[in-house]
C-alpha cells in the first residue's frame, strides 16, 4: 500500500500549458501516473502532450473523473486555483510553488479542509509512491518501492536522501514533501498520522532542518506507545543564529529552533536521529531492526 496516491489516482495538471506544467505532465506520465487532463483558463489548446485540456477544473472532472491535481501557477494566482480545485471535488491538491504569501497559505489550507481535500504544499516537489505514481517533479530514479514512509521539509535534500536509501536497497512506500514554509497544507504531524495508519509502511524516515517546530511533532509521535520506529536527519548544524537559510522557516530565532535542541528532543523520544546525510542509511537500517522479526519484511 501507499498513502495519498497510487495507480488508481486520476490526475489533472492545472497550468498545463506553461513550461513547468508541460514538463511535469510528460514526466508524471512516463512514471506511470494516470494523468487524465489539463486545465488552462487562458490558452486555446485542445490538447497538450496527448492530454485533453479543459477551461476549468469542473469541466475537467466531469469529463475525466479526476480526483487529484498538481497546480503549476505563479504565487499571485495560486490561492484561486487551489480553491477552485477543492470546490470542484478534487480530493488531493498539490501546490509545489514557492514564494507564497503566508496569508494565502492559511486560506488555502482552510479551503482544502472545508471541502474535505488534502493539500500538499506550498514549496515542495510534491509526493511519490514509488512504482505507482508521482505527483510533482522529483527525479524518479531516486526512488524504489519498499517499506519506508518518508516525510521531508526540503525538496533537494529529499532527492539526495532517497537516492542514498534506494541505492542501499531501502525502498519507500510514499515520500511526502510537506514543504519548508511555516503554514503547510499537510503538516509534519498529519503526514506522520497517514504513514502510521498505512499497513505497508514499517518505518518512518523524517528529513528536517533548523528553524520552526515540526521536529517536536515528530518527537511527540515517536514517544507514543504504538509508534512505528522513526529515523531522522536534521540538517543545518553549521548555520548561524538569526540568519534566514533560504526556506521561509529555516531560521534559528530561539533556542528550540537550534540543531542541538532538536537532536536532543528526537533522541530522547527514541528516534534514530542523525545530523549528517552520510549517516542516514545506517539510521534507517537501525530503525528497521527495531521491528520485531515477525513484522519485518524485506525492505
Amino acid at each position: 500500500m501507499s498513502v495519498l496516491i497510487d495507480r488508481r489516482s486520476r490526475f489533472i495538471i492545472q497550468g498545463v500549458t506553461g513550461n513547468v506544467g508541460r514538463f511535469s505532465a510528460r514526466d508524471m506520465r512516463e512514471y506511470g501516473t494516470t494523468v487524465v487532463g489539463g486545465v488552462s483558463a487562458a490558452r486555446p489548446e485542445k490538447e497538450i502532450e496527448g492530454i485533453p485540456v479543459f477551461p476549468n477544473v469542473r469541466a475537467a472532472c466531469a469529463a475525466t473523473g479526476a480526483d487529484a491535481t498538481v497546480i503549476y501557477v505563479p504565487a499571485a494566482t495560486a490561492l484561486d486555483h487551489v480553491v477552485e480545485a477543492a470546490e470542484s471535488g478534487i480530493k488531493l491538491v498539490v501546490y509545489p510553488g514557492d514564494g507564497l504569501p503566508v496569508r494565502d497559505a492559511i486560506e488555502m489550507r482552510a479551503a482544502a479542509h472545508a471541502n474535505g481535500a488534502t493539500l500538499i504544499g506550498p514549496n515542495t516537489p510534491g509526493l511519490i509512491s514509488p512504482g505507482k505514481a508521482k505527483a510533482g517533479f522529483m527525479p524518479s530514479f531516486c526512488y524504489a518501492p519498499g517499506a519506508l514512509g518518508v516525510v521531508s521539509r526540503s525538496g533537494s535534500l529529499s532527492y539526495e536522501a532517497c537516492f542514498r536509501l534506494t541505492s542501499a536497497g531501502l525502498g519507500q512506500t510514499t515520500v511526502i514533501g510537506i514543504g519548508g514554509d511555516p503554514i503547510k497544507g499537510l503538516s509534519a504531524g498529519e503526514a506522520l498520522e497517514l504513514l502510521h495508519a498505512d499497513a505497508e509502511t514499517q518505518v518512518i524516515v523524517y528529513l528536517g532542518e533548523i528553524g520552526g517546530g515540526d521536529e517536536y511533532d515528530v518527537a511527540a509521535y515517536a514517544e507514543r506507545r504504538d509508534a512505528k520506529p522513526v529515523a531522522a536527519l536534521i540538517v543545518g548544524r553549521q548555520a548561524p543564529k538569526g540568519k534566514k537559510m533560504g526556506h521561509a522557516a529555516a531560521l534559528i530565532s530561539s533556542h528550540a529552533d537550534t540543531h542541538s535542541a532538536k537532536m536532543a528532543a528526537l533522541i530522547k523520544a527514541g528516534v534514530h536521529a542523525v545530523g549528517t546525510v552520510g549517516k542516514l542509511v545506517p539510521a534507517a537500517a537501525a530503525a528497521l531492526s527495531d521491528l520485531p522479526a515477525s513484522r519485518r519484511k524485506s525492505a
Partner: protein, 376 residues
C-alpha cells in the same frame, strides 16, 4: 521583514490604533529646530529587538538633553545596525503596561492572538502569554477572546478595549500582509485610553507583488546590504557569508545546509550559504561564480546541486561555458546529480571537468584543496 518602530506605528495609525504623536528626526541639529513639549522619549529606529536594554530609549526633560540623547543614539550600534534616525515622542504617563500581539503560528493553522496582563521589557522572562488560536482571520470570535481574557484580566473596561483592539490587529495583519503585529507595551494611560507605546511589525516579503509599500521596503532593505549580498539578492540568489574557506554553490536550502554540514564533518569550514534554486539560469550561475571569485576568503568552490525541476544536462552545459570564460583560477569541484544527470559525464568529456558521483568525495576534495591553500 521587520519594520522600524516608526514604520510599524504608521501602519497601526492607519488601522485606527492610537499611537503617540511622534516625530522622526535624523540629526541632533534637526531636533533643535523642533518645538516639542518636554519630557520626551528619544528612541533609536532600528529593525532589531532588545533596543531598550541596550540604551536605545532615553527620557529627556529638556531640549538640550534630547539633543545629547539623539547624538549619542545615532552613533550607537544595535545588533550590528546603526540607526538612521530617532523617533521623538511625548513621554507617556503610563498607569499599566500589558502585552498584545497577533502572529502567524503553525499550531493555530493561521493567526494566534497573544495577551499578557504584564507587558514591558521582561515579557519573555515571565508567565507565557495567553493564546487565542484564531486560524484563518474570518474565524475570529470576540466572545472566544473574551472568555480567554477573563481568566487573567479582571478589569472589565480594559478587557473590552483589548477585545476590540485585538480584532483591529488581526484585520491589520491579514489585510496588510503582516506576519507579526506586536504591541509591547500596550500602555494604559491615566484617562483610561490604550496607546501603542511600541510596535514590532513583521511584513511578509512574499506579498511584495501585491503591496507597493512592501516592495519599496524590500528594495530599500536590499540596498542597505553589503554590495555582494545586494547583488545576490538582485539576482534572486540567497547568499549568507560564513567564516570558512569552502565556497558553496548549491540548489535548495536543505541540500545547501546538508553540504555545509558535510564540509564541517570533513574538517573544513563553509565560506557561505549560496542557494541558486530561485534562479537556476546561466545568468544566475555566472553571478554566483562572480561573487565567490571576488571574495578573497573563498579558496575553492564546491558546486553541489541535486536537481528536480532543474535539469542537470542544462546545468552541466552552463558550467562548462562558465569554466571556459571565467578568469579566476580558484579551483572548482563538481557534484551534479538529479534529473538528466546521466548526461553530465558526456557533456563534461574533453573539457577537463570532473563530476563526482558521491557528495562526500566532492566535499573531501574541496576541503583538501582549501587546506593546501591555507598552508601555502
Amino acid at each position: 521583514m521587520l519594520l522600524t518602530e516608526f514604520e510599524g506605528k504608521r501602519l497601526l495609525r492607519e488601522a485606527g490604533i492610537k499611537v503617540p504623536d511622534g516625530t522622526l528626526i535624523s540629526s541632533a541639529e534637526a531636533l533643535a529646530r523642533r518645538k516639542l513639549a518636554y519630557p520626551v522619549a528619544v528612541k533609536a529606529q532600528v529593525a532589531s529587538g532588545s533596543r531598550g536594554k541596550a540604551g536605545g530609549v532615553v527620557r529627556a526633560a529638556t531640549s538640550a538633553a534630547a539633543r545629547r540623547a539623539a547624538r549619542c543614539i545615532l552613533g550607537m550600534r544595535f545588533g550590528g545596525e546603526t540607526p538612521a534616525a530617532v523617533l521623538v515622542e511625548p513621554w507617556l504617563a503610563i498607569q499599566r503596561e500589558v502585552y498584545l500581539s497577533v502572529t502567524v503560528d503553525p499550531a493555530a493553522e493561521g493567526y494566534v492572538l497573544l495577551y499578557s496582563p504584564h507587558g514591558g521589557a521582561d515579557i519573555e522572562g515571565g508567565q507565557p502569554p495567553l493564546r487565542y488560536e484564531i486560524g484563518p482571520a474570518h474565524r475570529f470570535r470576540s466572545y472566544r477572546l473574551r472568555e480567554i481574557l477573563a481568566t487573567v484580566e479582571h478589569d472589565v473596561v480594559l478587557r473590552e478595549k483589548v477585545v476590540a483592539l485585538g480584532r483591529r490587529l488581526l484585520e491589520l495583519a491579514s489585510s496588510r500582509d503582516c506576519v507579526t503585529v506586536e504591541i509591547n507595551p500596550l500602555a494604559l494611560l491615566q484617562d483610561g485610553s490604550l496607546v501603542a507605546a511600541d510596535a514590532k511589525v513583521v511584513r511578509d516579503e512574499y506579498a511584495a507583488f501585491r503591496a507597493a509599500d512592501i516592495q519599496t521596503a524590500v528594495h530599500a532593505t536590499h540596498k542597505r546590504e553589503p554590495k555582494p549580498i545586494a547583488r545576490a539578492l538582485a539576482g534572486d540568489l540567497m547568499l549568507v557569508w560564513l567564516d570558512g574557506e569552502v565556497g558553496l554553490i548549491s540548489g535548495g536550502a536543505g541540500m545547501t545546509m546538508a553540504t555545509m554540514d558535510l564540509v564541517g564533518d570533513a574538517g573544513g569550514r563553509p565560506a557561505c550559504f549560496l542557494d541558486c534554486s530561485a534562479n537556476p539560469t546561466p545568468g544566475g550561475y555566472r553571478l554566483a561564480f562572480d561573487l565567490l571569485d571576488h571574495e578573497p576568503k573563498v579558496r575553492v568552490i564546491l558546486v553541489s546541486i541535486f536537481g528536480g525541476l532543474t535539469q542537470m544536462d542544462r546545468v552541466a552545459r552552463v558550467m562548462r561555458e562558465i569554466m571556459q570564460e571565467r578568469k579566476s583560477r580558484k579551483p572548482v569541484v563538481f557534484r551534479l546529480n538529479g534529473t538528466n544527470a546521466g548526461r553530465v559525464e558526456e557533456i563534461f568529456a574533453g573539457s577537463g571537468l570532473h563530476n563526482h558521483t558521491a557528495l562526500e568525495d566532492a566535499v573531501a576534495e574541496a576541503v583538501a584543496i582549501a587546506r593546501k591553500g591555507a598552508r601555502t
